[in-house]
Symmetry: C2
Subunit: 414 residues, 2 copies
């Protein structure tokens, strides 16, 4: 077919000249092996994976489809649209075309003579109406939640994954550096954010920051100048900003930025699906000492977290330590939000989605493990005045960590 021929040609050329990377076969094989081990432990006999990032993780493609994985036997990739791209992108070998949910049912039943007694679906995100549909298609199976098993695997990043995040970190470095050349007094927060995004896109940033939640929206344009940095909004974040309207009441606004006010920029980059998260302070001329001192406190807390970053260290313990440090430094009422509205985390996992495990947070008492990636983001907020902070993303190594966001830790003053 005409279209197939051209897809092959376009993807070949994208691989050669536009830097497309595909998930290696070994990587997919290892992930599926580990998933099966997790399924066995949880008593799940087969998984049917559909959520976009889980699906990508186990197949290497984000074409529209499902992945059926029995604990024993071949995985079956079911593609709805578009087959030709999926075939090029995935190293999986058993691929079926489907056009409807009935097709899916038929193909799975052909593949697996006896439908397993337990079927794992991603119940943390699967809509109820789809759940009823799957119950209808496979009435003999008891549906179980496989999200926890997957979440647990995805928290550990392979060198391949860390490599993509490292590249995202390099793009971030470029973007922050170039941003210094176009930041001007009187420019609105959103104009500045838009230009940063345009710069990031030029280097291959994918624009969407994916999250695993129907109501939580991540966005890159978190540029908060002066008093807007002191405003909390809907999200569980130290500061929300003013935003553009009641329909989008977070992040950058149309307010012009002024000289000497702190300008907090929390900008995520997504490269080949993998995100890093990064915050730096900008200012037009010198910020007043109050903000500069608070910024220094954030850097001190940030560095203290990294000192504790190695396999085996307890995440909640690290969080508590930052709260204690902030108190000692005189910021107990402004650390991680204004008094009464403070958040209870100083770091969060990041990868294909924002908000993966681990959390450096209250109630998250479990050890750091080699391969985890997280962002650490101490921030200090003064209502009506502004906020300051710093944020980097790191990969936990065998005996410490690697910083994936190599940008200098300085205030970007223009």
């Amino acid at each position: 077919m005409e279209h197939e021929k051209w897809v092959r040609k376009a993807l070949y050329s994208a691989t050669q000249s536009l830097g497309f990377h595909y998930t290696p076969k070994d990587e997919i094989r290892r992930r599926i092996l580990l998933l099966r081990a997790g399924m066995e432990k949880s008593g799940i006999e087969a998984a049917l994976i559909n959520q976009k990032m889980d699906f990508f993780y186990f197949t290497g493609t984000t074409q529209n489809g499902h992945l059926f994985i029995p604990v024993e036997g071949e995985p079956l990739l079911l593609i709805r649209r578009e087959r030709e791209r999926a075939l090029i992108e995935t190293p999986l070998e058993t691929v079926a075309d489907i056009k409807s949910m009935r097709d899916l049912q038929r193909r799975v039943r052909q593949h697996q003579e006896k439908i397993p007694e337990t079927l794992g679906l991603e119940l943390d995100v699967l809509p109820v109406k789809d759940y009823f549909k799957y119950q209808d298609l496979f009435p003999e199976a008891k549906i179980m939640d496989i999200a926890g098993v997957i979440r647990d695997l995805r928290k550990i990043k392979s060198p391949f994954e860390a490599g993509l995040m490292r590249k995202a970190g390099e793009i971030g470095q470029q973007v922050y550096r170039e941003a210094r050349t176009f930041l001007k007094s009187g420019m609105s927060e959103i104009e500045f954010a838009g230009l940063m995004e345009a710069t990031a896109k030029r280097y291959g940033h994918e624009g969407l920051l994916r999250v695993r939640d129907i109501n939580y929206e991540a966005y890159t344009w978190h540029v908060l100048g002066g008093p807007n940095g002191g405003i909390v909004s809907q999200s569980d974040s130290p500061m929300g900003g003013l935003g553009l309207s009641p329909a989008f009441p977070v992040g950058a606004s149309l307010r012009p930025m002024r000289a000497r006010e702190p300008i907090l920029v929390d900008f995520g980059i997504c490269y080949h699906g993998y995100q890093i998260d990064e915050t730096r302070m900008f200012s037009i001329g010198k910020m007043p000492d109050k903000f500069f001192d608070a910024y220094k406190a954030c850097v001190e807390i940030h560095d203290a977290v990294l000192e504790e970053t190695r396999p085996g260290m307890d995440c909640e313990h690290i969080f508590r330590k930052t709260v204690k440090m902030a108190k000692k430094l005189g910021y107990s009422d402004s650390f991680l939000g204004p008094a009464g509205l403070q958040t209870r985390f100083v770091g969060h996992g990041v990868g294909l989605e924002l908000g993966e495990l681990p959390y450096l947070a209250q109630g998250h008492s479990y050890p750091l493990e080699q391969g985890m990636t997280f962002a650490v983001e101490p921030k200090i907020v003064f209502p009506g005045e502004g906020s300051v902070g710093i944020e980097n993303t790191v990969w936990v190594t065998g005996d410490g960590y690697e910083v994936l966001t190599p940008l200098e830790q300085v205030i970007l003053e223009v």
Copy 2:
């Protein structure tokens, strides 16, 4: 409290100088009245609304919360974060603070002595794990799906809503016009898209195009040059483009655009939560006649749809008419996608989300109604060569329509 004072001040100033609009009280009252009528018809005694855009529609705020609406009695707004902004943004009067799902349960039970026998939740998007939680909190209620009732209300846009969409259309016009000044041969699709986005943001475009689906992602950077316009990908769309990686295999790519190739730009704008959808062709120098002729066919089909646009006309009928026209014009194998991969819609509703009712599509036999807003987008796709098309968003009036995207219907040649 310090924070409250500053939020009030910031929002006052946003209203005065940054053009914040709030949903009027009458508007909210009318929507809730209509919802109640729909609930009564469907046998739903109370609704608990949480999905961000539904919540915004009935409250005027997108702060984190739930809205409890009994068929009789006062609606109860439950806010988790952030109370002060919610109070300013919503005209609703009964507002409770909650910190947890247990609080929600307690507050609803205080508000409503006897929990209704049927409780409407948005089962089309509600994750299964949350569904189980609500069952736990209100075990005496039978949970029903209220999504259809809400979807049916939201398809009709009031003059207030159309006004916000009109403003989005004006932003779109500015963006397309300015884009002519920076499009250059050799620029990558994604760089051009990034600059268009930066322009749109400068005028208040909100960046995210919301959709009601866990896996379908809308994005503004649908810039497809030459052969990339001939590639279909994961989404149910005539053309997908190459995208930036297997993790984001749609939309603009890093491929440089060349002179004389068709450059299709499908760019949505979001203003105060309301979207418009719009497509125009760019070219650097003249496109070859083949594309120009196909573009003219798209305009002809587009205009024919508008001729049929008035209350009472059947949506599927309009769709079929466009397919017939395309055939007559010699594009039966390329209209709405390459042969074998053609989509079956030529228009879709748009508002707070992309993909609302109505659809001008196969299987959608129902009449257009006054107040509906939809985008009409005839497109023609040549595999390996490129695609062309045009798209505008309209509001159905009493006896016809109003075009909400006032941009000239011309090829934007530079």
